[in-house]
Symmetry: D2
Subunit: 336 residues, 4 copies
């Protein structure tokens, strides 16, 4: 990784890229914080740091051994902060995103939004485009759902995140939400990753059902290499042999990702367990393990939810969860 000085000229960048080509290395340029970062990829990548370090406009050369470069802690030692309007991920203050699995109606979404705001949530979630295993299941309200998200988000003054599932609807969705979610099933939908990388919206990148941490960080690398640095990772449970839980929430990933990457990471105990009884203890555990945020499904009436009822908290339990999280956060010198 070659880090160019803030003040460097396009010519200097060009000369570095050409020198890399002479050494049979591919060069990928991206701008971060006003600096151009040049990722050099190829067999002899490790060689000749000195040569490049002496070139005009080069600030420093960092050898990064992991396959992910831009997202790696080796490149950037400090925690990255990701802002979603006034909400910040990566700081000692831990945001909680809450809301129903799917937006079902203006009334349902507004009611939930008001309830979770009252309980202390700082951001809303709600699905408008729903990836469902069956073609015969409710597929989301789509554009109508997006409009409800926007309206309610403004009514309660909370930013909102919603999932995109198709590169063709990314641009449309930008108008209605504050953060774009890439769902677990699309973690390696590279066409979609490249599309959201072109936007300047923050991205919530969920871990795939059977993705290794390395594959997940490589998916984040796609977004960052595509020009979008505002990435929040989300652990949401992996697929294992266990059948009592819908997924196995893998909290090991929290300290592991914090060690490997500078990106903020949050926890989804609702999908992660699939069982409302486990949501509160696993939310507590998530914060204790070092997570930078939480995303929780809350529904005023889970038994009538069109999707994911069994894992949704009733508002009363969500309030209890928030109280418990405050105490855990305080114990590690953070707050919710």
């Amino acid at each position: 990784m070659i880090i160019m000085m803030n003040t460097t000229s396009p010519d200097s960048i060009q000369r570095v890229v050409e020198k890399l080509k002479q050494h049979s290395l591919d060069a990928y340029c991206v701008t971060s914080n006003g600096k151009t970062l040049i990722t050099a990829v190829g067999d002899s990548a490790a060689h000749d740091s000195d040569l490049y370090e002496r070139m005009s406009g080069v600030e420093k050369v960092v050898n990064i051994l992991t396959p992910f470069k831009l997202v790696s802690r080796e490149l950037k030692a400090d925690d990255s902060l990701v802002h979603v309007r006034h909400v910040v991920f990566g700081s000692p203050l831990i945001p909680v995103i809450a809301g129903p699995c799917a937006v079902e109606s203006p009334e349902q979404f507004l009611e939930t939004a008001q309830l979770v705001k009252a309980a202390g949530a700082s951001m809303l979630r709600g699905g408008a485009y729903k990836p469902r295993t069956s073609p015969y299941s409710f597929q989301g309200l789509e554009l109508e759902g997006l409009k409800i998200l926007r309206t309610v988000s403004e009514q309660v003054d909370m930013p909102v995140v919603s999932e995109v599932t198709d590169p063709r609807t990314v641009e449309l969705t930008l108008n209605y939400v504050d953060m774009l979610q890439i769902g677990a099933r699309n973690m390696q939908n590279f066409a979609l990753l490249k599309e959201v990388a072109k936007t300047d919206k923050p991205i919530l990148l969920k871990r795939g059902l059977s993705a290794t941490v390395e594959e997940w960080l490589m998916a984040a690398e796609y977004i960052m290499a595509g020009g979008n640095e505002k990435i929040v990772l989300c652990e949401r449970g992996i697929r294992t042999f266990e059948t009592y839980t819908r997924n196995t929430l893998d909290l090991n990933a929290i300290p592991l990702v914090k060690h490997l990457s500078h990106l903020p990471i949050i926890v989804d105990p609702s999908h992660g367990t699939g069982n409302w009884r486990l949501v509160t203890p696993m939310a507590r555990a998530g914060v204790a393990s070092g997570a930078d945020g939480l995303i929780v499904e809350v529904h005023p009436c889970p038994e009538e939810a069109v999707s994911d009822g069994p894992q949704s908290l009733i508002p009363q339990n969500f309030t209890q969860l928030m109280t418990e999280l405050s105490k855990i956060a305080a114990a590690i010198d953070r707050s919710v």
Copy 2:
């Protein structure tokens, strides 16, 4: 599932759909073999078969207990045949698809095509759009690759299959290939499934890395419910704890899918194992287990392949594989 008579009128169909709505059932219509099939979904689906069977234009009502309906063996007892030009999947004759992981150049692809044809392959494979874990890996020749596929396919007179990864490139790709592949990472990319469902090209639907057989059949159901019946399933290895092999080829899926569904199913021992040494024995085992075809990676010079070299056969080993497959096929009264 309500099967309408061939000769039924739009009015009769409409009356059935309305009656279903009165019973709070959703109705999904699709045409198969000139007949309209109405999938009724909802809580009371099992009730009142008699009522519907007595309605005008209804041929019969089938209660299907599995969540997949149109692809189920319960709906259609006979094996479906899928034609890709002159190649047929699902008959006693077992087609072998062969070719390199990625199209690298006209010369490389033509040479491979001629070699695999000489060895007895009946169809070509080659990637133009490559889903790669790293943004820094070769992403395929894209349109240029499609053009090479078409040219060589005509030169050697063999149909060709290639992967689509983005709903926006489906229409373009139709002009160049004879069969569209949905790769493992996109098995639950529902936007893509819905897009290929609108085409009349045969679809090769690979199993997801950690997809259950039920989820896989549900993905096929998306395509069939979207109007495209020409689906060939492909087992390509699942993710397990084993580290010696890249994936674990799950041949249990072959007889299981043949039991649950009428669709043809083929085996990919190259991705399934990730190790060329295992390709031939697992290809033999695939045919012995009842697979309706094979897809095998062959490269004239695997150590120079831009992707998947370690799992590619050299042409000489592919010729040996074809010889061995003939004998296994003959042992179960089929042929390659």
Copy 3:
């Protein structure tokens, strides 16, 4: 499950057992807290509660739907407490067990014991019989190791737990340790389970590498049905596809087991992650999820440990861990 009164006579018990036989039900009797519990197993188990409830000496009949009976929360709503000398598992006070993977020498074990005691650990761990993947790896000091365990345990006045791997050494081991550990690889070593069930020592039952929670509770049921109620469960990581960590510590199991069973459950973040960097955050998370204790590997010099060095904490880090745990425990109204 038929619960007999404290004061019931052997005759009454016998009459119940015979009545069960008449209904083709198998009867398994065990004594708990002075009461005889009769587990009735067979197809019609659910029937005729009334009949049995009216029989002489019967206190009540409980229908338990899970396959595990004696360990189930349905049978006993209150948390069970397990005493290991003065250390108690299952109460608000959370014991921490610490020590090296293997006992290597009297000096190494004494030094570690003194260090962990100073840091606040309440109990010692140390392996004398080591189940190792390779026959060429250090297999433990065996009897010599047990003697060191006993001596040091008395010197520092802390109870000690050590693993048994062979039914033939159970009796011997009883003389040297305060708690017998069943390791992950032996969770379904039923001969061993039946043997430790005959003792009156508390048992630390680790979860198997790929055991479902149900299988684990069934293993505990073996011990309880064999007459030993003093069981502490230990989550120590399951096998998944992830390769960055040695195992995947499954904290979901903590609230799940607390919901399904009355037994105390502790967490082993050392084996659970295989990486010392993850031990402290996962220990915090374990306590936050509701665990009743911890077991942690500590070695004065991990790089020289004969086994499990990479996952062992140095004493300084263990002290830090204890400080952090106190705060987390306080946040949920418990203490360490």
Copy 4:
């Protein structure tokens, strides 16, 4: 690995062992085919081959890179043959072991034995000590079962294999069976492995439910390092996320093990799938993949079996299986 000459003296062996100690290497001696093999383990194992090769009595030194040594193909290029009375595993003739999951009565076992013999099976299987998930399930007829095995084995003149689950019953079992089975749950029960290693009976070593191929070969290494070379490996399905099948029969392990080891390997499609419908196609696939034998559950009346009914073949289906296997075996120049 240092291979001593046939004619070498104890003194020469001793000198090699001492030299290894001087180099801080551990030496493990075992006799195979009249030759002493010395496994040297330690950091500098790779060094100084020349030095040892020049020592008196040394035939040659082989550097084996895999952690398993004695069972590795690197040590012994030829396939090992394992004889169980007149039945041979590892030759072109493929033995089929058949019988019920558990011995239930003399009549049931004799009837099954006669039926499977008539269909062409060459060896019997039957459980006397059954490892069961639940303490309330049938645990086998134990000694009475062993006696039935012996009697019927002699009546029909077929060797018999049965499982041992406890090191204390190994010696007793030797008197009644021709081959000892180590079940999947005991693959890493090292006390049991060491005990059967001391016998001269052939061992059927099943793969653990979540054992990697390397761990499995290390378990075989335990037996061989303990002095017993007569090992037949058995693939019996691994644990994955798939729920339609009880286990996932991993046929990839067949060619992989044949590549890594000289030991014979057989396939258990009954446990491997848990579903009788899949047994015959997966048996065909097993033979096609290169397996050296099969073990199949057959029960005259599966719906009345005390265990594993759903995966047992009725005799008529077993006869059909044998016919199909003959054809597949012939196609790869082997026979059943």
